[in-house]
Subunit: 543 residues, 2 copies
């Protein structure tokens, strides 16, 4: 193999922050938390991160080590991202939104000694501490000064630790394939599973998703970091912010629309990432108060497809475009992005924005059938979505028992999707929720969306009910806001979905079961059905 | 070392084109050459590149092989970039603008059997063929049909070769550190030296320089490929075009302003890269004919600092911004880019655009003194510029005798520069041309620029003349357009440069010596001085 003669430097997270300090040193990093206002910049943040890194190394952290955080979006948490990974340790960002038992599971499963917390997670940490198996040291990421009274066994001050650090510490050279960050899935089936990211994958993810057909970042931008840093690496914001010299505003744990709106206007935010709920609240806030959105020109919407009406309103009333991305814990942050070319008329642009978009360079997508045969990209055929790329998981952390990768190296996502000829992705359903009826697939999500549009329906779930002839048929289970007949709902649905999708049976209940993060728990619904709790037979009979 | 669990895929050029074919398959690639009009797209181009790759492999090309091209900017040349590198061979893009003896030197030095040419380089190839040591097969990149009568020993048809290729050929997996492309410096001192790029470096260069603070590319863009593909990889256009889904327009060998203007307007070009001469011609064309520039919104200017008046005129009259980049053969394409934030007023924006800009992520710069000690980034101190990064050379191709890298791994650029505190680069001079006077440095380029502003000066060069007290002093040598006294020039210069920079001696000559590519040949001038041909003593005497 004739090798080329380029310098062989590793792709490391520390080089991202070092680049920002050298090149965008005076670009602002703003923090606004309950009792603290921070106005700093990338140069100062990098200097603090290096001090902290040296302190971490001094107390024994380096390659092969794990360290944990249970914290919201603050500048100290950001410093910790770089300091811990900069010495070669991997940072487990525990998700404070999970139920305590699941948080404890992820910490114990990873097994480390030191957990970084902040004032807003202190109570939670105190609740967790008695059951944690390995953690024996807590570090409070708060301003210097007296530590709060606490039941925690050993609580150190972050600022004291940092003050002891060596300001002349230089970032060490590491293997770019080393582990840097660890996020767990929220675990709707079985215990949470970990995705252990590499420096290389994380850097490439930030570089590519920060580029032109996706976030399109530059030093002209200011980003408000709304998604939790513990969720898919905070959607890469901690990395492509400094990489592209965009200013960062960190709101701590708060996400209420009045507060966010104030930050957006005051700090000239140009890009706001978040889930549609956040943007709906913000829109309502603007309408109710008659205020504008300052320099904001794009939303980055993830989690679930943003409503068309919302995207239209932002575009029409505020000139704000929506980018919609798809990704999962197993893809670090985004893998596909809905880039709407500027020459499209508003209608077509909004329709394009609502798809899951196209893969950015470094990610690839395909759909396969049950046997793993690749299906056509015809925009019509649904199949099991698989992804491949530099920042896709090659397996789960310490779970060789979970078979996540196809024989030819693609990650199974658990989603069902269609793909257009131009590689545009359309999610159809979760694989485990799609209804297989007579060899065709019915999207439970599409049926739910259709039913939810009826004013009498408060909340709705569609699951499969076994059927002797069709294999499976859809069963609609709804909580009503007001009385409605099954027939009226039937007519409503028939106007929206194909006739053969129409549920043969509907059940109205008082309440639907939800999982720990508020998601509809369809597993529980299936148990209700099997246990006869829905008042119908657990399987349909042939008509 | 705890490794992370991301998929470990190599960064390969073939994956760039495969991404474009899948995701931007219908994005146009336009070719306009003397006798041919091409309207194709990335999907078709990739299919043809795969066929050609299989044909190349069939005739024995693969890793460890070199193949050559002597050709202009056409779709076939672009296909060859991907086909040759896709099978693991390295493509030497010989520069048809070099003098024939130097072209032959670079081909013989690399030593390969097959040279791809096009109709516009046939005559040159015929001239070179008798002296080439290793080439025994020529491939004509022209439309299918009869080959032209030629004196070349063995001339094959590119389209015949491609037609024999296997359309189901799949890109092989290669080591990302393998060599992919080879460009030679133009060799003003000694024979040309080769920079042998890796797949990894070339992909990272394209990804990063295509990003927001540099070219800022997206699928909304259309690029006209003006810089020769043989010059710094065509400034990365062959790679970040497909990577970011930008449309490409390939003008063959032509660069006259009427022709370029027609393509810019007809094909909705948004970005035009080139040297200032091209942009000055284009500006004159627009002024003379009163035509506009269509969708064009930015120039990417390289080679030398663009004149302020030119940038002002483009911005004021056409709303076209200038991005100015610095790079060299040894840095693949760009390393720094002048990103002018949008909130700057026009004056400040134009001033920012004219600097050599800031390093993009993946490149780093520093200045050092004669001993290699790093100098401050104070915007004032000049020093020897060194670069480091993923796409910087680690040495010269088969030239272990050339010591290009500092002990701590930085590439010596041969430039003298200043660096601002915010990492903005200002080139001062070539190291070998800067005049060391009494421990301070005088920029020969700045003196030449100042003198050239006098209407009586047609062309000017400044070189050092040895001085017993000051070590060196500037000597100004000019070709006059009209008579002028030395005193008048002195007064003119004194208004522009510091007093201690003023040349003690001026010499007026009929003609200045030029190198093969038209550049002023200061080496020859130094010989003239030493040989007494300038009519003055070869060294100054103490005042």
């Amino acid at each position: 193999m004739a090798l080329g003669l380029n310098q062989d430097l590793p792709l490391l997270l520390s080089s991202v922050l070092a680049h920002a300090a050298a090149t965008f040193g005076d670009v602002k990093v703003i923090g606004r938390y309950a009792n603290e206002k921070i106005d700093t910049d990338y140069a100062k943040l990098e200097a603090r991160a290096r001090r902290l890194a040296s302190a971490l190394r001094h107390i024994g952290y380096g390659p092969d080590c794990f360290v944990g955080s249970l914290a919201w979006n603050t500048h100290r948490h950001l410093e910790l991202f770089y300091a811990a990974t900069g010495v070669g340790a991997a940072l487990h960002t525990a998700n404070p939104r999970l139920p305590p038992a699941q948080i404890a599971y992820t910490i114990d499963f990873t097994a480390y000694h030191t957990l970084f917390i902040d004032p807003d997670t202190l109570a939670l940490a105190e609740q967790l501490a008695p059951q944690l198996q390995t953690v024996r040291r807590y570090v409070m990421m708060a301003p210097a000064g007296a530590l709060p009274p606490t039941s925690l066994p050993a609580l150190l001050s972050y600022e004291d630790l940092l003050a002891d650090g060596d300001p002349s510490f230089a970032w060490p050279v590491l293997d770019e394939r080393s582990a840097c960050l660890l996020c767990f899935t929220s675990g709707t089936t079985g215990p949470p599973k970990g995705a252990l990211y590499t420096h290389r994958g994380t850097v490439l993810n930030a570089l590519s998703t920060g580029g032109g057909n996706a976030w399109g970042l530059s030093a002209d931008d200011a980003i408000i970091a709304i998604p939790g840093f513990f969720h898919c690496n905070g959607w890469a914001v901690p990395f492509f912010g400094p990489m592209y010299g965009a200013s960062l505003v960190l709101p701590g744990r708060r996400a209420d629309s009045g507060f966010l709106h104030g930050l957006i206007v005051e700090h000239g935010i140009t890009v706001a990432p978040g889930v549609p709920t956040i943007f709906l609240d913000l829109l309502r806030h603007c309408r109710d108060t008659g205020v504008g959105l300052g320099r904001l020109n794009r939303l980055f919407s993830g989690g679930t497809a943003p409503p068309l009406a919302m995207m239209e309103a932002y575009l029409r009333d505020y000139g704000v475009r929506t980018i919609h991305g798809w990704g999962m814990t197993e893809t670090t942050s985004g893998a596909t992005m809905s880039f709407a070319p500027r020459h499209l008329p508003p209608d077509a642009a909004v329709a394009a924005m609502r798809t899951q978009g196209k893969p950015v360079f470094g990610a690839a997508i395909r759909i396969v059938d049950e046997d793993g045969t690749t299906l056509p990209r015809d925009g019509v055929t649904p199949g099991h979505l698989q992804v491949r790329g530099h920042w896709s998981a090659a397996g789960y952390f310490r779970r060789p028992d979970v078979d996540a990768i196809s024989q030819d190296g693609w990650l199974r996502t658990g989603d069902v999707a269609r793909i257009d000829a131009d590689n545009t992705l359309h999610l159809v359903d979760r694989s485990k929720d799609v209804i297989k009826s007579g060899g065709e697939w019915i999207s439970s999500q599409a049926l739910e969306d259709a039913a939810a549009r009826h004013p009498a329906v408060r909340e709705v779930a569609v699951i499969a009910i076994p059927h002797p002839r069709w294999q499976e048929r859809p069963l609609l289970i709804a909580v009503l806001a007001e009385p409605v007949t099954e027939q009226a709902l039937h007519i409503h649905l028939a106007n929206i979905v194909p006739k053969w999708w129409l549920p043969d049976t509907m059940v109205f209940v008082e309440e639907l079961p939800h999982g720990p993060t508020g998601k509809l728990d369809k597993q529980a619904l299936r148990r209700w059905l099997a246990d006869g709790l829905l008042g119908i037979a657990a399987a349909a009979t042939a008509p």
